[in-house]
Symmetry: C2
Subunit: 434 residues, 2 copies
């Protein structure tokens, strides 16, 4: 490896050090050149003095923004420098020159519209604030996976190319698979349920889902990072909510502890929901919306975006950034647990975090006879689901699970306006590059 330490590890008055990174800023004050060099962990100031190091001073005249440089030198205490330390150089080398001008400013805090940022995403990703989003994202996913590993969940990988989709319909991306028609996966739903039948008991997957929706919102993308969970031997959907609640709390706690620098950069005061997440019924949710906000969702069986947002405000004020909505009107859907006649509510739930739905889940149907009845009543082509029905027909324990949108979670944790800011290289109906 090229010898160097991270800028954040440079201590004033230590022995000579080597650092390397991109040139973030250049300030030329006559006989004095200040170079701010950026690496993944932060910034450091190098001071080139014509009198002190005439040769290096001469060499640094040609430096350009975003050049990759390596500097060896003595770290000195400095009140003016970022981090309270600057380097007096003894060696200076340009590793790779950057083209100029830059189509996007990295060091200056200029408001640029998202579309321009995404067009120049590789440059945009260099901004310390953007980098903070993705180190935070990495921490968040790792912490979540850690929780599931420690609870004995099996890390699974389900196929992304399939004959059909779990939800079906127009939202599927068609693909030519050798000489067959196939589709990109909407969700690992069927496969994770099959694994419950197969006795895997508790599984999770950090995967990808594809939705060919035609949208133009700040909450949708075509290629979605999903965190999917399924567990068996549950009593009902409350057990699934327990898992969702505990794992999310753990992950947020880890991020709050380990990603302080990133949260600071993003100006986020992360509120870890240490108390039990409220679990309110759909009727209670409607009540709050009506009495407090005079809001009535258009669809009387589901919450709308505005409703989620208002409920989010309501619970945030009470110290609950996260809460569940349960008790949705009973609806028939083949993989949803069919409830006894005397229960009017389904066993599904939604998790709302900071005013936005983050995950949906519930208890699944494990009784194949009931499932096929619902399929037939709803006009679902059972032939398309033969492999799934068959898999569940040889003894399946009661089970449930949920799918959590990772991109949305990152969006919410990092307080980003648009979900695309939470994705390195997002895909939408108009964006297929970079």
């Amino acid at each position: 490896m090229i010898e160097r330490i991270h800028t954040s590890d440079v201590e004033p008055d230590a022995d000579e050090v080597a650092i390397a990174g991109h040139v973030h800023e250049i300030r030329d004050l006559g006989g004095l050149v200040f170079l701010i060099v950026r690496d993944r962990e932060g910034l450091i100031q190098i001071v080139f003095k014509e009198e002190r190091e005439p040769e290096l001073f001469e060499a640094v005249q040609d430096v350009g923004a975003e050049d990759v440089v390596r500097v060896v030198g003595e770290p000195l205490e400095s009140d003016q420098a970022p981090g309270g330390v600057e380097i007096a150089p003894t060696e200076y080398e340009v590793i790779d020159e950057a083209d100029s001008p830059l189509p996007l400013e990295i060091s200056k805090d200029i408001e640029v519209d998202l579309s321009t940022r995404l067009d120049n995403r590789a440059l945009d990703l260099r901004k310390p604030e953007t980098l903070a989003v993705f180190t935070l994202r990495s921490e968040l996913i790792t912490a979540m996976e850690e929780w599931f590993e420690s609870e004995g969940y099996v890390d699974i990988k389900t196929p992304l190319i399939s004959k059909g989709g779990a939800e079906g319909g127009a939202e599927l991306f068609p693909i030519l698979y050798y000489n067959q028609d196939a589709f990109l996966s909407q969700s690992p739903q069927l496969y994770k349920q099959m694994l419950m039948a197969s006795g895997y008991e508790a599984v999770y997957e950090t995967g990808t889902a594809f939705r060919a929706e035609d949208f133009a919102t700040s909450r949708h993308v075509s290629e979605i990072a999903m965190f999917d969970v399924e567990l068996a031997y549950i009593d009902d959907h409350d057990d699934v909510m327990d898992v969702q609640e505990e794992s999310l709390r753990y992950a947020l706690r880890e991020v709050a502890e380990n990603a302080e620098r990133e949260l600071d950069l993003l100006d986020v005061d992360l509120d870890v929901p240490e108390e039990d997440f409220p679990r309110i019924t759909f009727d209670e949710a409607l009540d709050i919306l009506e009495t407090e906000y005079g809001h009535f969702p258009d669809d009387p069986t589901d919450l709308d975006t505005k409703g989620e947002k208002l409920l989010g405000e309501h619970f945030e004020e009470q110290g609950h950034p996260a809460f569940f909505v349960v008790g949705y009107p009973d609806e028939k859907f083949y993989y949803m647990q069919d409830v006894p006649d005397d229960e009017i509510a389904s066993r599904k739930f939604d998790l709302i975090y900071k005013g936005q739905e983050l995950s949906s889940g519930g208890q699944r149907e494990h009784d194949v006879e009931r499932m096929v009845e619902v399929m037939e009543a709803e006009g679902v082509e059972t032939a398309n689901f033969e492999f799934y029905i068959e898999a569940l027909s040889y003894g399946t324990p009661p089970h449930g699970g949920y799918g959590l949108g990772i991109d949305r979670l990152v969006q919410k944790v990092a307080d980003l306006d648009n979900i695309k800011e939470a994705i390195m290289f997002p895909r939408d109906p108009n964006r297929l590059e970079p």
Copy 2:
């Protein structure tokens, strides 16, 4: 949760316990019924005695293979029972009945061809040996990710839908993306390199790659689980090999320590390569093949499958299950580091483990001018790579990386004949279901 403990946690002469699982085996000996129940952690024997528990004995007459049952009872020491303990039942409940007959035997060790196993994959996945493959796989990936987390790598997610492919050509799956033509990703190569330009310094991705190859081998599938790594500020490809070597050693060591039960079930004696992996040149490899085996690969610039296998034997005999091949003849490929004129070898490497290529990697080209020259000389349409060339043109540190085939690694670690056995629901030119 339904109250129960795992079969592996049942201790003889403990208090009453509850277990739940699939009925693995039924043995009816007149006034005595032995039920072997299987959960994720193992098997346990329940003994129903007509004299001792006449009602439960009556009820268990209807039990069928693979029914999901829950049993409460007293654990008793038993020499004949698996694990040295059996349960004398006080409660017995069928949670879900299995259809019969089973299209595939779970409990009996009958040789079934792979195609039948995969047609009935959800049942095949119930076999203790198959389950062992996937718990081992989960442990292996988790351990690998752990190593990279502890080394400060950023966990990334690159897009799976793109305008083109890194390698290009006929191996791309076309997809209709809204009204545009697009393709499924062959590799995150371009994106992870762009992140090196963006200053992410060290990244890894547990992802998916798609290859529309028409094959019928035991080593290929169409949807591949990949473990991709890229790191910056390297001197050359040796730094990349160091990372590959250390992370693989760590992962294998963890599996050897934590997956003993699974390795036993699979009859694998896992040999952790504690010593330095040999790094031999391509010429040395050809030499060994010629002098020891009289084998000459058809292509004088690359190893063939047989050559890899023979070299694997050669090094395994010397106590090295894993080794690198470097010093391949210099070839021009746009993302490969162009070497100085006096170097005749490229900076790429292959890792061979147990006689099979597991990963390929090398130092990449970070000089955009040289890259474009190579592209033009090789007739690569630069217009297709504009976003990538542009990303790298604003200052890119020297970097390299590799892609490791997770499925192949699991195949090799678990000693499986066919790569498809290492994948829960594999995809090949003829298999799109389940």
